[in-house]
Assembly symmetry: C2
Homo-oligomer: 179 residues x 2
DNA sequence: AAAATATGTCAATGGTACTGACGTATTTTG
DNA sequence: CAAAATACGTCAGTACCATTGACATATTTT
């Protein structure tokens, strides 16, 4: 009976007074939407989507990673990866090389074309971040990084720490004189 | 000819040395993914997706907004909204009321059920933010808010400013004694 | 030799988004 | 008042991204 009649509309707005951090919740939504809009435009020219972006990005960040490692970073299924990875291989952005130790594995490497795409996609995002930090005072960047990292599930934070920050000292793979 | 041969793999990792702010780019990816994972789990129980989340959220934040206004906030097409909004109306989360001034318009209001859903979805996100700011010093929250807002396209920032922060003074609609 | 692992693939499904076109009710404009 | 514009809804078709489940192959481990 109560279900039949139209439910009564609530006319008062949900606000921060309700004990919810709506300000940052909404800023995350709007910020992320616009943050991804620049690469989305570029990807559309190639007929690619966000899945291609993520794959080409992490293959460039961790050259030689295996399919299983890539799945672990992206937290998607093998089947979801398959089609998109195949397209990137077919278009010459990524190459597969049989694992030297374990020949069941396929190590994934970017080509020069794949590196160029990763850079083209990252540049506008980096630029947007740079602009957002224009009026930042020393320490603001660290504050933002701490906050974002603290939003990540704790068990996944080591994965982020293991990404190469720069080329000082660390040798990720033998440099064979790419370009 | 050059295209036939397998392209040479690049074995060096892309790093911050390449002039790209990879650290924050990747933090944004991981942070947003985990930030949306909590509501995603709840939505799955209802057979809903992220589109339902966004609609039920902003209808609760701006009760009485019209379909056109909602489209303008979400930046999606009428056709994309249609199916999802219909589901939320059919399940009694949202009600439509003919606009009092312009009868072509349909004002959207949450029901008690819709308000409860919006709160249930927002709570884990708010909690995650609260936890992320646990060790923050005064000023850190403002720094994060400034940064996120600066990532948003400039022309859309007024839209964010117009969302009700709290109920002090401002009367968004007449309070007719909901629950 | 058997079991486990790494990968690839086939089929089916679902959610979200898009473009384009068309219809209806209502309001505004000339 | 008639025409144009507006607000909304809907139909058809398409595309991308992700899922589960099942199965096949090559290789390594036990």
């Amino acid at each position: 009976m109560a279900d039949v009649a139209a439910a009564k509309p609530i006319r008062t707005a949900l606000t921060n007074d309700d004990g919810i951090d709506l300000t940052i919740i909404e800023l995350m939504f709007f910020a992320y939407r616009d943050f991804t809009s620049d690469p989305d435009k570029i990807l559309a020219e190639y007929g690619f989507g966000r899945a291609h972006h993520r794959i080409v990005h992490f293959v460039n960040r961790m050259p030689g990673l295996t399919v299983a490692e890539l799945l672990d970073v992206l937290k998607i299924t093998k089947q979801s990866l398959a089609r998109v990875l195949k397209q990137l291989i077919d278009t010459g952005h990524i190459v597969q090389i049989q694992g030297p130790r374990d020949r069941r594995q396929r190590e994934l490497y970017p080509t020069a074309k794949g590196r160029a795409l990763a850079l083209a996609l990252a540049r506008p995002q980096s630029r947007r971040i740079q602009d957002a930090l224009l009026e930042a005072v020393p320490g603001d960047r660290a504050t933002v990084e701490r906050f974002l990292k603290a939003l990540v599930n704790p068990e996944l934070r080591p994965q982020i720490d293991n990404l190469p920050a720069d080329r000082a000292g660390k040798i990720v793979g033998r440099d064979n004189g790419d370009e």
